[in-house]
């Protein structure tokens, strides 16, 4: 398979240091799937399931337990609805979702965990979708979810912006770098 513009960074080994090497190797060992409407539906349904878990995390019986971030539910619901429309627009069917939030010690922590999963799903879809509009949508959703995650981390007393490359749960950045 020839090097293509689609895999610019992984192929060039950009970043190079530390985990960047592993990321480059991982990418080079994987066959690249060309964007298609069918692939769009697959990726967006994964994101829909993850974002549905975010929405359910914000729809707890006593929303006061979420403190000042209880208003986040509206954004989560909006994303679920837009993902459903995008899936239908790609000719697919939105998968049935009955996602429960992750088990955690508090509703806020459960919401944070769900957001990390959703970010990981959007990260997997970013650039792999077949239209600029869909790629723009998942970038918008990553920004929204990353912002909510930062706010939740603040409520939990955690570092709100710990990493320069936000990928979601257990996802190494595509490009890892050390400052020049």
């Amino acid at each position: 398979m020839p090097i293509t513009r689609r895999r610019l960074l992984a192929a060039s080994g950009a970043g190079l240091a530390g985990t960047g090497a592993a990321a480059a190797l991982s990418a080079c060992g994987t066959e690249i799937e060309d964007p298609s409407a069918e692939r769009d539906v697959e990726l967006l349904n994964v994101a829909l399931a993850a974002q549905s878990a975010v929405a359910s995390a914000f729809e707890i019986e006593d929303a006061r337990l979420l403190g000042p971030v209880q208003g986040f539910a509206e954004e989560a619901t909006r994303q679920v609805q837009e993902l459903g429309r995008a899936i239908e627009g790609a000719g697919g069917t939105a998968a049935e979702t009955d996602e429960s939030p992750p088990e955690a010690e508090s509703p806020t922590e459960a919401a944070a965990l769900a957001l990390e999963d959703a970010i990981a799903a959007y990260h997997a879809a970013a650039g792999a979708l077949s239209t600029a509009g869909l790629n723009r949508m998942v970038l918008e959703f990553i920004a929204a979810d990353a912002a909510q995650l930062a706010a939740l981390r603040g409520e939990l007393g955690e570092d709100q912006a710990p990493e320069p490359f936000v990928t979601g749960l257990d996802e190494p950045p595509l490009v890892a770098t050390e400052p020049a």
Binding site: M1, R6, L8, L9, C28, V69, N135, A147, V175, T177
Partner: protein, 197 residues
């Protein structure tokens, strides 16, 4: 070790040594792709992104060193400066691998239009407002200019950087006194249906 049979294989093997001891500067000539006119759109995206990242890094550095900025806020500015520099370094590597000339490194705020007025900032609130504007400019740039590219890697890396910038906005807005729900309200568009080509 046998000779690599394809360019892809050669690059993969080159990557093997990266984590051990080699430096980017030594590897880049071997990894460079032939520049083509089709790469111009990537250059058109990367160059302004690098300039914006470098300017934001310098802005954080300036803010961290400003009189009256100390404690937790100073440490936050220092860490965000490092993160912005990491973005710039990654994007510079990508541009270099395409064979384009790299923008000059930025150290003097006067050399960047993005930093007009930074010398006039006086208070903590002045710096926070200035940095929020810069971060929001970055958020808009990555969200609007990356998607039309056909480089899956660049879009995905833009997503990673965009997430970081969005989190910076939240931290800065909260430092300005905004409630978390207000600080985290980041809307960039009206969704995919209206923006699809």
């Amino acid at each position: 070790m046998s000779e690599p049979t394809t360019r892809r294989e050669a690059l993969r093997l080159a990557g093997l040594g990266v984590g051990a001891a080699a430096t980017p500067a030594l590897l880049l000539p071997a990894l460079a792709r032939a520049q083509s006119s089709d790469d111009d759109d990537l250059n058109d995206f990367l160059e302004p992104a690098i300039e914006l990242e470098q300017a934001t890094a310098v802005a954080y550095e300036t803010a961290a060193e400003a009189k009256g900025i100390d404690g937790e806020l100073k440490r936050t500015f220092e860490r965000f400066q490092e993160q912005e520099q990491a973005h710039a370094t990654a994007l510079r590597s990508a541009l270099d691998s395409l064979g384009f000339d790299l923008p000059d490194e930025l150290s003097d705020p006067a050399e960047s239009d993005h930093l007009d007025g930074i010398d006039n900032l006086k208070s903590e609130n002045d710096y926070l407002a200035f940095l929020v504007d810069l971060e929001q400019e970055q958020v808009r740039y990555y969200a609007s200019d990356a998607p039309p590219l056909d480089s899956e890697d660049l879009i995905r890396t833009s997503a990673e950087i965009l997430g970081c910038q969005a989190q910076h906005v939240v931290v800065l807005r909260e430092a300005q006194g905004a409630a978390p729900a207000v600080a985290a309200a980041i809307r960039l568009g009206e969704g995919a249906q209206e923006s699809q080509p």
